[in-house]
Symmetry: C2
Subunit: 130 residues, 2 copies
């Protein structure tokens, strides 16, 4: 763990951006921030703990709402300045009551179910064969 | 578009964080940043354009590598300070040659294929019935 904490590049305010996604569907649930301590807590307690920039304090997600994010995976990116978590979301991620915070749609292309099924089919065949 | 550009909350440096995910598998590919101009270009050209904080310039992803991200969806979150894109990734997202930038694994719980299949099955039944 000490290695990881030294590896991750916290910015000049001591924080790093963190993305949470549903561990089964991969839906992106929210984007928030972590400092070193919250990252440590997340890994120790196996539940997402963020750092609230507005309140300038640790934010154990779910502590007041019960909407915990149980940790299923944690990754960082190639230049170590972004964290990705796969979580089991209890209840909803968003304080508005939405499952994901990203409910504001600006643009969406027409992706047909057929295209998705074709892609899934090819992936399954690929996994079977490789 | 003018509405959106006024809606999104760019920070004191004029940038906002942006997450790109594969439009079919929902795999998170990368996290980068946009300024107002790059968001406008992304929506106009239907390809991800970021703002490089290190180079302090527009970054049309794929311009030199050919690894374009064709825009399939664009969303912003409940407090309008994060952008989410669904993209068709041409080639790889990461400059290391990896498909996703998040290849550094810190922790991963053992999620069985059976659990995933159960969840998928329930979703399909749910979509059929609702």
């Amino acid at each position: 763990m000490e290695n990881l904490l030294n590896e991750v590049k916290f910015d000049d305010k001591g924080i790093v951006v963190a993305v949470a996604q549903d561990y089964i569907t991969n839906e992106v649930l929210m984007v928030a921030y972590m400092n070193k301590e919250s990252l440590e807590i997340t890994l120790n307690e196996k539940r997402a703990c963020y750092y609230s920039r507005s309140r300038q304090s640790l934010w154990r997600k779910g502590e007041t709402s019960g909407h915990w994010q149980n940790l299923k995976g944690l990754y960082y990116d190639c230049d170590a300045d972004a964290i990705l978590m796969k979580v089991e979301q209890i209840g909803n991620a968003c304080h508005t009551g939405a499952y994901s915070c990203f409910f504001n749609k600006v643009f969406e292309d027409n992706v047909t179910d057929q295209a998705i099924l074709n892609r899934l089919y090819n992936q399954i065949i690929d996994r079977r064969d490789n």
